[in-house]
């Protein structure tokens, strides 16, 4: 299980405070390199928490391995360099007043020359149909446009693992289709937390369904997952 997996959770339990109830308990799952996995679950089932735990931003017990590196306090920065993360509210992660600077940030902080970084950022924006936003301020953009910008920032450094929290939530149908095509063409392991089952089915090869902080089921039949979520059979 360990060798070709880009992301491994082994018996992962997350508590926000030492004595509080666990938000996630005993999660064991993996994502292979270039595999795209959807993470389903009702509101509050722990999808976002699981994504954040994989970055070392939340305290956890158990083992998390990203791209062959075991996540600890010492390795957290190295691990984060290997992850592209999309928050569900893009405003939270846009840190610069110009789109191109924000998108290129992952590259410029790695000392890639500004000209090259900007060219690659332009490419990333263009792949998401947002090239025309490069010189704009994030404050001039709609929520959906900000989501594309934030996603471009996550994709630009070509990380081996992408953790995407509700990537399609603010996109129009055409935007969703375009995003699905873009994500399908990316060579990276992906864990996509979403409620949008048709979108997930068009991007991901299998799903994991969480319920109350535990793995409820896994599979490749997305209709089954839809039935589970629709009828609240979980």
């Amino acid at each position: 299980m360990t060798s070709e997996k880009t992301l491994i959770f082994k018996d992962v339990t997350v508590r926000y405070h030492d004595k509080s109830a666990s938000v996630l308990s005993g999660i064991t799952m993996g994502v292979s390199s270039n595999e795209r996995v959807a993470l389903f679950g009702l509101n509050g089932s722990g999808k976002t928490t699981l994504l954040l735990a994989a970055t070392g931003l939340l305290p956890f017990t158990g083992r998390i391995v990203v791209d062959g590196i075991e996540l600890t306090k010492k390795t957290a920065d190295t691990v984060r360099d290997r992850i592209g993360f999309l928050f569900s509210t893009p405003e939270d992660q846009i840190l610069f007043p110009r789109v191109i600077d924000d998108t290129a940030f992952s590259l410029t902080r790695r000392k890639i020359p500004v000209k090259e970084a900007h060219a690659r950022a332009h490419d990333a924006l263009a792949r998401l149909g947002a090239a025309d936003l490069a010189d704009k301020s994030p404050f001039q953009l709609s929520h959906g446009q900000r989501q594309r910008v934030a996603l471009a920032g996550a994709l630009v450094a070509a990380p081996p693992l992408l953790l995407l929290d509700e990537p399609s939530s603010a996109l129009d149908p055409a935007g969703k289709r375009s995003l699905a095509v873009t994500l399908s063409g990316i060579n990276a392991a992906m864990l996509v937390a979403t409620h949008d089952i048709p979108f997930a089915a068009s991007v991901c090869s299998r799903y994991v369904l969480l319920n109350a902080g535990k793995t409820h089921s896994e599979g490749v039949d997305f209709k089954k997952a839809e039935l589970c979520l629709d009828d609240s059979k979980i």
Binding site: T55, R80, F87, E91, D92, Q93, L95, S106, R109, F139
Partner: protein, 247 residues
Amino acid sequence: MNVPFDMWGSGNGPALRLLPQTRMLCGTAVFTSCMLLPFSTSAGTACAVGLTALWCLLCGMPLRRAVLCLGIAGALFVPILLMTPWIQAGDAHNSAMAGRLAASGTIALRASLCLFISFATITALPLSEAHTAFAGLPLPRTAAVLLVQMLNQTLFLIEETGRVIRAIRLRGAGRGLHVRLLFSFPVVWMGRMLFRAERTAMAMTMRGYTVRDGLPASVSCYAGKDILMLVTTGCIAVGSLVLRILS
């Protein structure tokens, strides 16, 4: 889209050809001059008004922004005139009331001119260039990064606050002033702000944002026109200080 965001960079004057940091520094110099020029003489007052008008023209402040600025200045500073009877005026040559009126008028006029200068500078500075401007200022890097983030996050908070206010209005607080809703505003707002702050801190950690990387790596060098403008506005500020001392 609303006014706080539309205002930035809406000008189209010749000042926009200068570097962003030059525009910011020149705006600061003009603002300082306006604060220093003595209003006790009509020449000093005329200089301040002329300087403000010239800066607004250089920034190409749109007319509707100027009208908005005039409205805000009226709302904020005209009430100062109502305080005239209680103002202490130290000018022995004028009658008591005339001296007080001159003092309150000076405060209102100076504040209005400073507001115009600030608005004009904002109209000459697109938001997308704000961080370049801060990066180019002769400030310690930490201070520049902090200023960039303060600006960035403040604008997101303004947007968020606007959403909360609209939601409260929609739920009936606008009509009949539902006291419970109004009291709930600070609680709701603070909760959201804390949540946002937590998420932004997470994103900064996640994206590896540090003081070292928080500003653009390269900043454009000052050109001749930038230096000329900086020297001119700097001289005006120094001249204003001299006039202030002499008056």
